[in-house]
């Protein structure tokens, strides 16, 4: 009987390393998708990653790519400097919700509005992971965190920030989409969307961002299975999945 290999580690994944991520966390899945897409587009050697402050700060320990670490929230500015000086390189930032939607709000809005030809991978798990489960700008109403122990009160803290909707209000960005990692079907879709975002950059179309709804079972105080269910039932209705902006449709839009 002929053996057919149906599964192997992407070549970008550094041999023999295991991630420090918690069971049920989405970072591992998203890292893998990123590796697969870079490999399929055959651009690993020319790709530069910008690691955030957050749980993924050390993602360069897993992905064999050129990398620079960013101060908290400033990754889109670093990406801007890198890409402006190296227009033939593919530049991506990988940022969490505290990093991108709180401390780095100015940097992301302006990078998007300038149409920087970069790709932003935005992991939204509705909480601060690395610092131990504090409230994020994307924390859901009534969600309990260590700085909202009675649940997020929209009267005092406002409603969660919807980044895709916010950035889609700008005219310049080329491609903005929201995906989820809550089941295999969504994961396949997430990979397609990420490939499209990177292609958008490679083709010089402009700024692309993929918001990825993800889990943080540890800080949500749930089992991985409960976390997937919670994401599906609580987050996805508030953060609708889909393509918010697509350069291919832009001609009709304007």
């Amino acid at each position: 009987m002929k053996e057919v290999k149906v599964y192997s580690r992407p070549s970008i994944w550094i041999d023999g390393v295991h991630t420090h991520y918690c069971p049920g966390c989405g970072h591992g899945i998203m890292h893998r998708i990123l590796c697969e897409v870079l490999e399929e587009l055959d651009i690993a050697d020319e790709t530069i990653g910008i690691a955030p402050v957050g749980c993924a700060a050390m993602m360069y320990n897993y992905l064999d790519l050129d990398f620079i670490e960013s101060p908290h929230g400033r990754a889109p500015a670093i990406a801007t400097g890198l890409k402006r000086a190296n227009p033939d390189r593919t530049v991506f930032t990988y940022q969490g919700d505290g990093d991108l939607a709180s401390i780095g709000m100015a940097e992301i809005i302006h990078a998007a509005n300038r149409g920087e030809k970069i790709t932003v991978i935005f992991i939204n798990n509705a909480i601060y992971g690395m610092t131990g489960g504090q409230m994020a700008p994307t924390t859901m109403p009534d969600q309990v965190t260590t700085t909202s122990v009675k649940g997020r009160d929209p009267e005092k803290c406002g409603y969660p920030v919807r980044i895709c909707e916010l950035l889609s209000a700008l005219r310049t960005p080329a491609y903005i989409a929201r995906v989820s990692l809550a089941d295999p079907h969504y994961i396949r879709k997430a990979k397609e969307v990420l490939a499209k975002a990177l292609k958008c950059q490679m083709d010089g179309k402009g700024f692309s961002l993929v918001e990825v709804l993800s889990n943080c079972p540890t800080n949500w105080k749930m089992s991985p299975v409960e976390a997937f269910r919670w994401q599906e039932e609580t987050m996805i209705p508030y953060y609708p999945l889909g393509v918010y902006k697509d350069f291919q449709q832009r001609m009709g839009e304007e």
Partner: protein, 357 residues
């Protein structure tokens, strides 16, 4: 070479362009806005990239991204903007990314004033941001010296893989002077061993520029490496001395007051007063040797600064025993005149007594 009459901000920008700087990221703030304005016109003409950032915070991080790929990049700002950039200085120093920053000092603290001071001395010589690091700090006193320092700043930044600060002030930035600005190619060395985006040049080996050190031995190692580098950097320390032979009183002053003090020294020497000048040209590394190896005749050092007394602390730390060290200056953005400095020197020398003036 032709001399040109130009305003300080434009001199700084043109000197950078003639030294090969092709990237500038900045944000408007008085009194340095002439630099980004000049760059916005002349960088694209020379095939470079000018970008007005949304804040100084973004600007310094754009600088970091650009410099991380081994490119010759600059930014400029003033007081409040330098405070915002200080987060980035710490990361540049920790990741050992070379870049050039110009601080055109204005009055402070807070929003302060748009006029000239030297209130940022502590901030820039001690690093400005968090952690154990230093910028290299160059302090020109004239626009011609600003040209020379700007043009050598990338050599130093790339030699040490460290951010270099050129410390100017509002007076310098707004003054017109005749200068020569040569074409001068900066010596960046070979950046391929570390610069991002050069993986093929490294034979496929990747580069990771990072500063997180979660285990204690890594943290210790990073700091040891940086401190060892700063010790080697000490050899770049430089100061100009004027009329120091047989001086009883030494004026110490950098930048604009350094230039004015030279006039005061010449006036006093003409009258027979034994006064000299030490003008630090680098503030970090501080020119320790010139202060610790003074002529035996020196009994007094007067640190003339446009602030409430900052460099005077560095001088006190290194001046020999038996030498009095005091500060003279104002922090309200008024520039001391040579007459005012000379009068204070004469008072001091009179108080010191002795047969000679």
């Amino acid at each position: 070479m032709a001399r040109v009459l130009m305003k300080g901000n434009e001199v700084i920008a043109e000197a950078a362009l003639k030294a090969g700087c092709r990237y500038f990221f900045g944000y408007p703030i008085t009194p340095q806005s002439g630099i980004p304005e000049y760059m916005s016109v002349h960088l694209p003409e020379r095939g470079g990239c000018f970008l007005q950032a949304e804040s100084e915070l973004a600007a310094i991080n754009m600088v970091m991204g650009c410099a991380a790929s081994g490119k010759q990049v600059m930014t400029s700002s003033s007081g409040p903007g330098i405070s915002l950039m200080s987060e980035g200085f710490s990361f540049l120093a920790a990741c050992e990314v070379p870049a050039v920053i110009v601080d055109v000092m204005r009055g402070g603290p807070g929003l302060g004033s748009l006029l000239s001071t030297q209130g940022d001395y502590f901030q820039v010589t001690c690093g400005g941001g968090h952690g154990d690091y230093h910028l290299m700090v160059l302090a020109p006193a004239t626009l011609q010296e600003a040209v020379d320092m700007i043009q050598s700043a990338w050599d130093l930044a790339f030699r040490y893989r460290n951010p270099v600060m050129v410390l100017a002030d509002a007076f310098m930035a707004q003054t017109m002077e005749s200068v020569e600005i040569p074409e001068r190619e900066a010596d960046l060395g070979d950046v391929s061993s570390w610069a991002l985006g050069k993986r093929p040049e490294r034979g496929g080996k990747r580069s990771v520029l990072k500063s997180i050190c979660l285990n204690t031995s890594q943290m210790e190692e990073l700091n040891r490496r940086l401190q060892a580098k700063y010790r080697i950097m000490q050899k770049e320390a430089a100061a100009e001395t004027v009329e120091m032979g047989n001086a009883r009183l030494a004026i110490a002053a950098f930048g604009t007051p350094g230039r004015i003090s030279e006039t005061a020294v010449r006036k006093l020497r003409d009258k027979g007063y034994r006064v000299g000048l030490i003008r630090p040209k680098t503030l970090y590394p501080f020119p320790v040797q010139v202060f610790s190896e003074l002529p035996d005749s020196v009994r007094y050092i007067l640190s003339v600064e446009m602030n409430s007394g900052q460099m005077v602390r560095d001088i006190r730390a290194v001046a020999g025993k038996g030498i009095q060290v005091n500060h003279m200056g104002h922090a309200g953005c008024t520039i001391p005149s040579s007459g005012e400095i000379a009068s204070r020197c004469m008072e001091i020398l009179d108080e010191m007594g002795g047969a000679e003036p």
